[in-house]
């Protein structure tokens, strides 16, 4: 339907794989923030016109995902003095392959979904599913708390893409509420990261096993 939108979605998918394949935390943060900015642009491409409502929602998304959250994450990273994800449960190359596999699966799977015809043409649904899967892969295979936050953000991006389907139907309040939730979540996580670092002298979430009953 919209070649530019499809192109953006392909870039988003490529960014997913890039995020899976790098060990440098700064790079992951930058990739995810770029992804967020791209997502913020998408509503214009879907709606095709400008309105204060659209501006507010997109502006909020871009500001939060492309600006505030990366800033907070980079500061958290500096505070705890970590630069790299050292020992993922699955290596970078295998997890990249896994991500590619998940993307292929999402493409195949969404073809068989009973979607309204208006939604079938763009890559929206498969991109959304693929991004969600990649978010999960990041969450389950990385050990450092900061990388896991990035996984959570990627997961949220996937859900956001799915929300595009409802662009016209969703009230502004809901969108702003979702953004606020995200902001608060990341804010809290940043605090928790500091606490984990103080209590365990490490950001390795595997050490949290010690809290088990």
């Amino acid at each position: 339907m919209n070649p530019l939108l499809n192109a953006l979605l392909v870039v988003v998918l490529a960014l997913n794989l890039f995020a899976l394949g790098t060990s440098r935390l700064v790079t992951v943060i930058k990739i995810v923030s770029l992804q967020g900015v791209l997502l913020g642009l998408m509503p214009f491409l879907i709606e095709g016109h400008l309105g204060w409502r659209l501006l507010l929602a997109s502006g909020g998304t871009i500001l939060l995902k492309g600006g505030i959250i990366p800033f907070m994450m980079i500061r958290a990273m500096r505070d705890v003095q970590i630069k790299r994800e050292m020992e993922p449960l699955i290596g970078f190359l295998p997890s990249m392959l896994l991500g590619a596999l998940a993307t292929g699966f999402a493409l195949l799977f969404s073809k068989s979904l009973p979607l309204a015809s208006a939604h079938t043409t763009p890559l929206l649904v498969p991109a959304s599913l693929a991004t969600i899967f990649v978010g999960f892969i990041l969450l389950t295979t990385r050990a450092k708390a900061i990388t896991q936050v990035m996984g959570y953000l990627v997961l949220e991006n996937g859900i956001y893409i799915f929300g595009m389907l409802l662009m016209g139907a969703m009230p502004l309040v809901v969108e702003l509420g979702v953004l606020l939730d995200l902001f608060v979540a990341v804010f809290v996580i940043c605090i928790i990261i500091n606490h984990i670092n103080q209590a365990f002298s490490s950001l390795d979430t595997r050490r949290l096993v010690a809290l088990k009953e």
Partner: protein, 668 residues
């Protein structure tokens, strides 16, 4: 909407609200302000007076009234109503808690219990008001809310002294039991909504039900409410919770809260088409088993409050037998069975709330004096606490169903009903005949039980030195007991006082059957009971006075009781609580499973050794706790899922997501 102040229901609803909120103001003050307890009691008094006023107004005005408001919950309405059946159960609600509240002013002083006094007052009011709301509600959603309000308030009351491990244990048992009952009630009301099409507790389900659904509804009713009433295999929470709660709370729990289970059974049965004979026979049999085993367990106890709790189970059994008889009457279209069975059951509800509260308050006075619940450490209290001993005698005579006190009147009605039923030569001769024998056995065993408790606690000489001299309690604790004893006497001599209301309730209950119903007052020669009771009282009081003069003139009591004329006997040679019950305990060994720890004599000169017995609740100790322990062990295997690693937990989420996607796809 406009309501007249003369509308009884409005007054009663206001009373309910005041009772629910009675403990709230005290919570805003510091725990050192001891006058807040008096404020709470005053609010309870206002609530009860308003409630009684409302009941009186309602009895002169329109009998059935209702208020319906919409609310914001997705289901049901705020719908309350008052009818004769409800009024019967509201009378104890507006009587017992307020007396217990006054008793608590001295028994559970804020100055002596600063840590939980205010909380106790709060939940006490919630319990009383919750029970009133249970009776008032005419909508199953509101009913369940009120039911849980009552049940949770009772949990916090029973756990008032939660620093003791035993109290916590009893509280947990209660919590599990009450929720097991609530699950059945949820299923019951869901099913009722299915068949009647609404949540209102007034739509009578027509007779077009299949037998399977009718039976399910009936069984759910009996089990769900049976947990609260304490029917026999479902009674497991009752002894522990009653024994460990403060005494005025035990009095309200036993005297009023158990009756809410009975109320629930009766209320739901008004909605169901009871046409099958087996329903009544099952309830009759359950009542007989509950009654006999309840009193047998009571005899085996050495803890005075556990004993009274088991005795409550026995009385619930008697009430249940009356309901069973009424159900048989409904199935056979015999109005006289219904009248005598249900009339006796409802009268016994009142009577039990009077005498059981009396003896629970009495046990509180005893515990204040001797600081223990173990009867084997008491003895000879009649000399140091004459008022308490005398008041206990009232309660004990009434609870044994002896004339001239009130327990006799209600048990007699049930007897009459059973005899009618046997004499009518109907198809139910066999079960009803057995039930009549069971009722007689219950009466005899109850007598044995209360002879034991009176002899061990009040007669003889003290078995153990007590810290300080035992003495009668203060007036605040004595007067509520005296009022309750007075109620026992009045209802014993003039049970006719309650007949107009009971008659209305019975007529309302058996509406679906509707043959002409005889008058309760003409069903039995009650004027004879009244006059004989008066004569009996005069004889007893006169004989007592004469005997006492003679004894006082003749023999100075220098030697202890049970001394057999030997002046140097030690208190240890008296019969103990255990030895009093030994014969009956060994007779019922096959159900009680008593544990004896006997000394083994192995040498010629045996050393000092000890003997002890205990009778734990067999259902709890042998069935429920082992089952829970086994379940706990099996559930430990699920701990494998708890790995403590965030990545693995997220993997679970992913697995569920993939599963749901796949499932949804297959479903399409």
């Amino acid at each position: 909407m406009q309501y007249e102040i003369h509308n009884g229901l409005v007054l009663i609803f206001a009373a309910t609200i005041i009772m629910i909120a009675s403990g709230l103001p005290a919570c805003f003050f510091d725990r050192r302000f001891v006058w807040t307890q008096r404020l709470t009691t005053a609010l309870m008094l206002i609530g009860s007076v308003l409630g009684w006023w409302g009941l009186v107004v309602a009895s002169f005005g329109t009998p059935a009234s209702s208020i319906v408001w919409d609310w914001h919950l997705p289901a049901g309405h705020f719908s309350i109503g008052l009818d004769a059946l409800g009024a019967v159960f509201l009378i104890p609600v507006f009587t017992i808690p307020v007396l217990g509240s006054f008793y608590g002013l001295s028994y559970w002083r804020q100055s002596e219990h600063p840590e939980n006094g205010r909380g106790l007052g709060l939940f006490y009011g919630l319990l009383a008001g919750g029970m009133a709301l249970v009776v008032l509600s005419r909508d199953s959603v509101l009913f369940l809310i009120a039911w849980e309000l009552m049940a949770m308030a009772a949990f916090f009351l029973a756990g008032a002294e939660d620093e003791k491990a035993e109290v916590r244990r009893a509280g947990w048992t209660y919590l599990v039991a009450t929720h097991a009952g609530t699950i059945c009630l949820l299923a019951l009301f869901a099913l009722l909504r299915q068949v009647s099409g609404g949540f209102a507790l007034s739509t009578v389900v027509d007779g077009s039900l299949t037998t399977g659904i009718a039976a399910t509804l009936f069984v759910l009713t009996i089990i769900g409410f049976g947990f609260k009433a304490g029917l026999m295999p479902l009674h497991v929470w009752l002894p522990g919770a009653h024994a460990n709660a403060p005494s005025h709370v035990s009095a309200v729990m036993s005297g009023v809260m158990l009756k809410m289970g009975i109320y629930g059974i009766l209320r739901v049965l008004t909605l169901l088409p009871v046409t099958e004979l087996w329903n009544g026979e099952v309830v009759l049999g359950l009542g007989a088993i509950t009654g006999i085993l309840g009193i047998v367990f009571a005899i085996a106890q050495n803890d005075i409050k556990r004993l009274m709790a088991y005795s409550s189970i026995e009385n619930i059994g008697i009430i249940t037998m009356g309901i069973g008889l009424a159900l048989i009457g409904r199935a056979l279209h015999r109005a006289d069975f219904v009248l005598l069975g249900l009339g006796g059951a409802l009268l016994h509800v009142w009577n039990h709330s009077l005498f059981k509260s009396l003896i629970f308050l009495n046990s509180g006075a005893i515990m204040h004096a001797v600081h223990t619940r173990d009867m084997n450490r008491m003895g000879g209290l009649a000399k140091s606490m004459p008022v308490t001993a005398g008041l206990f005698l009232f309660g004990a005579v009434a609870i044994c169903g002896l004339p001239p006190l009130n327990g006799f009147a209600s048990e007699w009605l049930i007897y009459l009903g059973l005899f009618h039923s046997v004499g009518a030569g109907s198809s139910t001769v066999w079960p009803v005949g057995v039930a009549a024998v069971a009722l007689a056995v219950i009466g005899a065993l109850a007598l044995a039980c209360f002879v034991k408790i009176y002899c061990v606690v009040f007669l003889g000489t003290p078995r153990h030195p007590v810290h300080g001299q035992p003495h009668d309690p203060s007036r605040l604790m004595r007067y509520p007991m005296m009022l309750l004893a007075g109620g026992c006497v009045v209802l014993g001599i003039l049970p006719q006082l309650g007949f107009p209301l009971l008659q209305n309730a019975v007529e309302q209950w058996m509406d679906p059957v509707a043959p002409a119903i005889p008058q309760l007052a003409s069903a039995a020669p009650f004027q004879w009971i009244s006059s004989m009771a008066m004569v009996f009282i005069v004889l007893v009081v006169g004989g007592f006075v004469l005997l006492r003069r003679k004894i006082v003139r003749q023999a100075p009591a220098l030697v202890g009781t049970w001394g057999c004329g030997y002046g140097l006997a030690t208190p240890r040679i008296q019969y103990t609580a255990t030895s009093f019950g030994e014969m009956l305990v060994s007779l019922f060994r096959w159900v009680l499973f008593p544990r004896f720890r006997r000394p083994a004599i192995s040498s010629v000169f045996p050393a000092k050794s000890e003997f002890s017995t205990e009778v734990p609740d067999p259902v709890l100790e042998r069935v429920i706790l082992p089952a829970f322990r086994q379940a706990g062990r099996n559930m430990m295997k699920l701990r494998l899922l708890q790995q403590g690693r965030i990545q693995i937990y997220l993997l679970y989420v992913l697995a569920v997501l993939v599963f749901l996607l796949g499932w949804g796809k297959l479903g399409f």
